[in-house]
């Protein structure tokens, strides 16, 4: 039992974060927003960094890493509000595909995969996808509140629970990243912005709002890591853990958004500051890959329904190592 990241995991996270801080700042979001949402150069950069190869097996030219790494990267993608068609394709699809040629093409950045599932009314980035897993899209574009999302109406889909769990995990990770970024944005704003002769961050009301968000994020994170670990290792309760993570991440990110806009005041309500990109991403991901109601129902069945043992000794699988 060791609930700490390895040095390699921390290095990966820090590397991705540093790369995105350097190449994918808010000015990039504004440019993408004005120009249509996607930029091949960004995609190439992500491929060159190895993100498309991250969880592809080594035999197919990948790095053969696991879902902890995928989630760590997804947190950083959420923090930077990366919108390229990389999340579903690189951090989810490889776990759903057996075809070795497809896996190799994903790793090489040559194949993009979109995901279709009945709990989503859309398929993200279907137009750029060489392969739609689980169903198909109609080609009709749906407009999201989030200007950087590209959604297409769902035509048909099968309910693949593995797809849902993997995609919900990665959505949860992005929500945590977006929540953390909104806390940072609001904190920085509160340090700079003066009213009544002092930085507003000196007012206790502002301090306490922000502290409450810090608490929610702090306690969403370990839930995310347990879910990633359990799903990666085929634990019996992995689906429930993923639903828990999606809920905790959603609630923390939505609270971060409402707090951040309140701290920003009228500024937060505009395009003058960049907060809105992360707020809209949070609203979008809150409903994606199972909304609150969906994931609550899975917890409910497990716990109140009694499908799962609960109690102080039940946080982890107590049996032997799996998968």
């Amino acid at each position: 039992m060791n609930f700490a990241f390895t040095d390699e995991q921390i290095e990966l996270r820090d590397g991705v974060r540093a790369y995105l801080e350097g190449t994918h700042g808010a000015e990039v979001l504004r440019r993408l927003d004005a120009e249509g949402g996607r930029d091949p150069a960004i995609w190439r950069g992500l491929v060159e960094m190895g993100l498309t190869a991250l969880i592809v097996p080594e035999a197919q030219g990948g790095l053969g890493l696991g879902l902890i790494e995928a989630a760590l990267v997804a947190v950083e993608l959420g923090r930077a509000d990366v919108s390229e068609a990389v999340v579903d394709s690189a951090l989810v699809a490889p776990r759903l595909i057996a075809d070795e040629a497809q896996l190799a093409a994903i790793a090489a950045g040559e194949l993009r995969v979109a995901l279709a599932h009945p709990v989503n009314p859309w398929v993200a980035d279907a137009d750029q996808a060489g392969l739609v897993l689980g169903g198909s899209a109609t080609g009709e574009r749906l407009e999201s509140a989030d200007p950087l999302r590209r959604l297409f109406a769902l035509e048909r889909a099968e309910a693949d629970t593995r797809m849902l769990d993997h995609a919900a995990l990665i959505a949860a990770a992005q929500l945590v990243g977006a929540g953390e970024r909104m806390l940072t944005l609001a904190t920085d704003y509160a340090k700079d912005r003066e009213q009544f002769g002092q930085a507003i961050g000196g007012f206790q009301a502002i301090k306490h709002h922000l502290a409450s968000v810090a608490v929610m994020l702090e306690f969403a994170r370990p839930v995310l890591w347990r879910a990633a670990y359990a799903l990666d290792n085929g634990h019996e309760r992995a689906s429930v853990h993923v639903s828990h993570a999606k809920l905790a991440a959603t609630d923390a990110a939505v609270q971060a958004a409402e707090t951040a806009i309140q701290v920003h005041g009228a500024m937060g309500y505009t395009y003058e500051v960049d907060l809105h990109y992360w707020m809209k991403r949070a609203w979008a991901l809150a409903g994606a890959w199972g909304d609150r109601a969906f994931h609550l129902r899975r917890l409910d069945d497990a716990m109140i329904g009694g499908a799962m043992a609960i109690g102080p000794d039940q946080s982890f699988e107590t049996g032997m190592h799996h998968g």
Binding site: V119, N120, P121, W122, L142, E143, S144, A145, D146, P147, R149, L151, E194, Q195, F196, Q198, G202, F203, Q204, A205, I206, V254, E258, I261, Q262, G265, A266, G268, Y269, T270, Y271, E272, H276, M279, K280, W283, A284, A286, G287, A288, D291, R292, A293, F294, L296, D300
Partner: protein
């Protein structure tokens, strides 16, 4: 206490209902925050004016109906029941109009009030400045006296409706050496005057209802000043009082939203999160409570009472109930919440949620309202960081 409507009040309700049923546009107008939508809303203001329903609480002398507050509430109930559009003229009806009536000269009343009642003059607020958001006394824009004119320079921001309105009203520093609340005057400025530049501010939803106004040596006659030179602060406080008080958000608006939320819940009941049911009941119960309290305050005001710091209780209550109501709706919409259109129509719940996020911020943030309640109603000390 008599909580039944008189026959006259019921007849009035019937009259409003009949008119609204005949005149309210069948299809929702485009958003007020865009040019085309704003024009459509101005058109609706003129339709209202044609039925003499534009400024129902104004005295008849200025083109109103002189309704008492109870009838105003009945009017609003029927207005929102009918699903009538938002009011492009809101700033004029509830803020500037009452200010001019209380502080204006006869000439100013004649010049501004009647055109407003006809829907011919749309007003923008020009309160905030880049470094004076909630702290209105930090205003720096100047109006320098030059003969019978003021020459105005400076910058206002968060000016609602300014992108499309005809005129603005706001505070300017007429005494260059003054500090804080002193030396300010309340001045009306036409937005097509030479030297005025409007820079629309794009908002969350992508529309541009707010704007910055830049004044570069804009010349306006002294006759555009409301009340005496240097008395602007008191005038503005009265105006802000109207805003935060009874009429800023009529309860019918939230009752109508709560009713739609109940319908939404019924539609999504089978897949709703378990807490949504109680949240829906609560939204409705709070909208009712807000309505009842407004009737109570209206009765007090009609009996000669004044609204004081209670306005802050109101502001907090409606803004937080509105946000919670729309948050619940978003949770009921689930995956569709993020879509701008659902079933071929604008996703009104998304729009409503976005709008509701501004409630706790504007017209004095809820943090400031809580300070006011603590200090003025509860008598807690003003020590510390306020």
């Amino acid at each position: 206490m008599d909580l039944t409507y008189t026959p006259e009040q019921q007849a009035f309700r019937a009259e409003v209902r009949a008119w609204m049923e005949q005149h309210v546009p069948k299809e929702p107008l485009l958003t007020l925050e865009g040019r085309a939508g704003f024009d459509a809303h101005v058109e609706w203001e003129r339709t209202l004016a044609s039925g003499n329903w534009g400024m129902v609480t104004w005295p008849e002398a200025y083109g109103g109906r002189g309704l008492d507050l109870i009838r105003w509430l009945i009017f609003e109930e029927e207005y929102y029941r009918a699903g009538a559009p938002l009011r492009a003229n809101q700033n004029g009806i509830f803020l500037l109009g009452p200010t001019v009536m209380e502080f204006g000269t006869d000439e100013q009343k004649a010049r501004f009030l009647t055109p407003m009642a006809k829907g011919e003059l749309m007003w923008a607020q020009a309160w905030s400045e880049p470094n004076a958001g909630s702290d209105m006394a930090a205003i720096r824009s100047r109006a320098v006296r030059d003969g019978d004119d003021y020459v105005i320079s400076g910058q206002k921001t968060w000016s609602s409706r300014a992108a499309f309105a005809d005129w603005s009203f706001g505070l300017f520093r007429t005494d260059a050496d003054s500090k804080r609340h002193k030396g300010l005057s309340f001045i009306l400025v036409p937005l097509d005057a030479p030297g005025v530049t409007i820079r629309p501010i794009r908002q969350l939803h992508g529309e541009t209802g707010f704007a910055e106004i830049f004044f570069d040596e804009v010349r306006v006659p002294v006759a555009n000043r409301i009340a005496g030179e240097g008395e602007g602060w008191n005038v503005a406080m009265a105006t802000a009082g109207f805003e935060r008080g009874l009429m800023l958000r009529s309860p019918a608006r939230f009752q109508a939203a709560a009713k739609r939320l109940v319908d939404l819940y019924r539609e999504h009941q089978a897949v709703a999160p378990p807490s949504a049911r109680e949240a829906v009941i609560k939204a409705w119960a709070e909208a009712e409570a807000y309505a009842l309290n407004t009737y109570k305050v209206a009765s007090t005001v009609m009996a000669g009472g004044k609204i004081g710091a209670e306005a802050s209780l109101n502001k907090i209550f409606w803004s937080e109930l509105d946000r919670a109501l729309h948050r619940t709706a978003m949770s009921l919409m689930g995956a569709a919440a993020e879509l701008k259109e659902v079933g071929g129509r604008v996703n009104q719940w998304l729009e409503g949620y976005i709008f509701s996020l501004s409630g706790p911020i504007y017209a004095g943030s809820n943090e400031i309202q809580r300070n006011i309640i603590a200090e003025r109603l509860l008598g807690l000390p003003r020590l510390g960081a306020g």
